[in-house]
Symmetry: C2
Subunit: 319 residues, 2 copies
């Protein structure tokens, strides 16, 4: 029985999993993404993480059928390269992650888009495994999207799924991508943090940055947001209201266009805030849904944090 390896490369953490034939996780590793160095250092950290997971599963990496990697940035699946992964250190140009990792680990390596990997994991192993079609929405620092239509990943010309940059308010707020009125301009954790800093600077009181410091963070992580919301911090509540309203409008727009039966909400904020907030997204979608008598199912990603690594492993043919 062939085991497969999967690695999810994120802006803040690397997660690896050794996956059995049925898709279940035998062992995993989680570590921080290097913040200094460059693509070679990040790729070395990918290898180290996969080795640690393999060791925990008591398997030699060379015995794996292969290792799949889900990566941000521009992924060239055929050539095994990643270009301009902006959240990773000094990663502007192209780097041959596939070749370097394959030589290091002694197994075949396949690359894919991180969000698409997580979507495929939910489709094959998670909450949408009985469905034909799926929209995955990954609500974290940015808002990523993945599509499965009629059982197959829909990539368009290679860049499909950018639901974070669906316009929800023309002439609206500036998005980290530079455009105006994108869903991510209201719902992305990065944009929310920038707005929180600005509003605090102009005199609004909030516990967000105090909680951040108390927890030894330098960013408003999903955990910081969750704690501030539990304490009913007015600024946190207000910014989350805006985020939910934007997610409701943007996801409903996608459903009006594609009429998919299921939407999965994952990502750092989606997973941390969970069902009560996914229920609010459901409610925020309703006024915008054209077929409002038959809304899609909207579910929290069931595989949680390891979904990306599991999905990456699914890229490897274990037959």
């Amino acid at each position: 029985m062939a085991l497969r390896g999967g690695i999810d490369l994120g802006g803040t953490k690397i997660q690896s999993a050794i996956v059995a034939e049925d898709g279940s996780v035998l062992a995993s590793d989680r570590r921080e993404t290097p913040t200094v160095g460059g693509p070679a250092d990040v790729t070395a950290a990918l290898a180290a993480s996969l080795r640690a997971a393999a060791e925990a599963a008591r398997v030699d990496p060379r015995e794996l059928a292969g290792v799949g990697v889900g990566s941000p940035g521009e992924v060239d699946e055929t050539r095994g390269t990643v270009t301009s992964a902006r959240n990773l250190p000094d990663w502007e140009g192209e780097f041959p992650v596939g070749d370097v990792l394959s030589q290091d680990l002694g197994v075949p390596v396949r690359l894919g888009n991180d969000v698409q990997m997580a979507t495929e994991a939910e489709f094959h192993l998670g909450g949408a495994r009985d469905e034909d079609s799926l929209l995955g929405v990954f609500w974290g620092t940015g808002v990523g999207g993945g599509l499965i239509l009629d059982g197959k990943p829909w990539l368009g010309r290679g860049a499909a799924g950018e639901i974070g940059h669906v316009v929800v308010k023309k002439g609206g707020a500036r998005c980290p991508c530079g455009r105006r009125g994108c869903m991510e301009a209201y719902a992305g954790r990065g944009a929310m943090e920038a707005r929180a800093r600005k509003r605090q600077a102009s005199g609004e009181s909030t516990q967000l940055f105090k909680i951040m410091q108390d927890r030894g963070r330098t960013r408003l992580t999903s955990g910081v947001w969750a704690r501030a919301l539990r304490r009913s911090d007015p600024l946190a509540l207000d910014l989350i209201d805006d985020a939910i309203e934007a997610l409701g409008a943007g996801i409903a727009s996608a459903v009006n266009l594609l009429d998919v039966p299921t939407v999965i909400i994952g990502g750092g904020l989606g997973l941390r805030l969970g069902e009560p907030y996914v229920d609010r997204i459901r409610t925020a979608m309703l006024p915008h849904l054209f077929v409002d008598w038959s809304p899609p199912r909207v579910l929290v990603a069931t595989l949680g944090d390891l979904g990306g690594a599991q999905g990456a492993a699914l890229q490897i043919d274990a037959g």
Copy 2:
């Protein structure tokens, strides 16, 4: 060689075509949609129109391989029924268009969604015939959309393609559908007319309604809008600016999600205003396109007004 018939049932007009094996139109008929009566009267008008087209092509309708119909409202393709076609007279309930028409004409009849038929015509016979995927945008009284993905119509659970109800401004203008901020609330000819009436009533000067009366119309048709724009009517210019901005944001959102290579702009306003305005839509999309270095082709529907009838005929298997 088997000929096929196609009928496009619209809110204002019925168009029929007799279509050769290569998809070309041998003869056609165009008449007004009955404004009184009910579904049976409209269906009788469909039969009369198809008969007139057949006569012009010197063919007995019974010799056709079949007749396809593109209809608004809720179309049940399997049962051949149309329900709640709101722009048609007294058409709330379900009516068996397929059976009635088939008995009347003595040929098999197949029903489909009007916008999807027009999209398929452009895909198979028109401007997108060399493409795998296509978004059709039909800019008329409302704004309809049709999708072809990887060579096949994408219908979702049956209601996909509602690009007119993609949200472009949350909390924005009221749409004829009752929701807020839909693209159609700014770009649909129905919504634009309502806004023009309101702004004229509150004192803005415009020639729109004068042109309408001079041309013997009771509605602001696409021709009325075109003439007012040629005369640089300020209110018409302003409302068209809003429409183009909304179309730019909404179509760009769809492209960010689906990354299709081609967008076709048809519909009454799209065809009447043509390339200069489609070029403005292209420009309005750019600031919202995530992959702005590789925008899709955006083309005026090449089949013009008869595309819907041609697409409807394609539903019939002529083999």
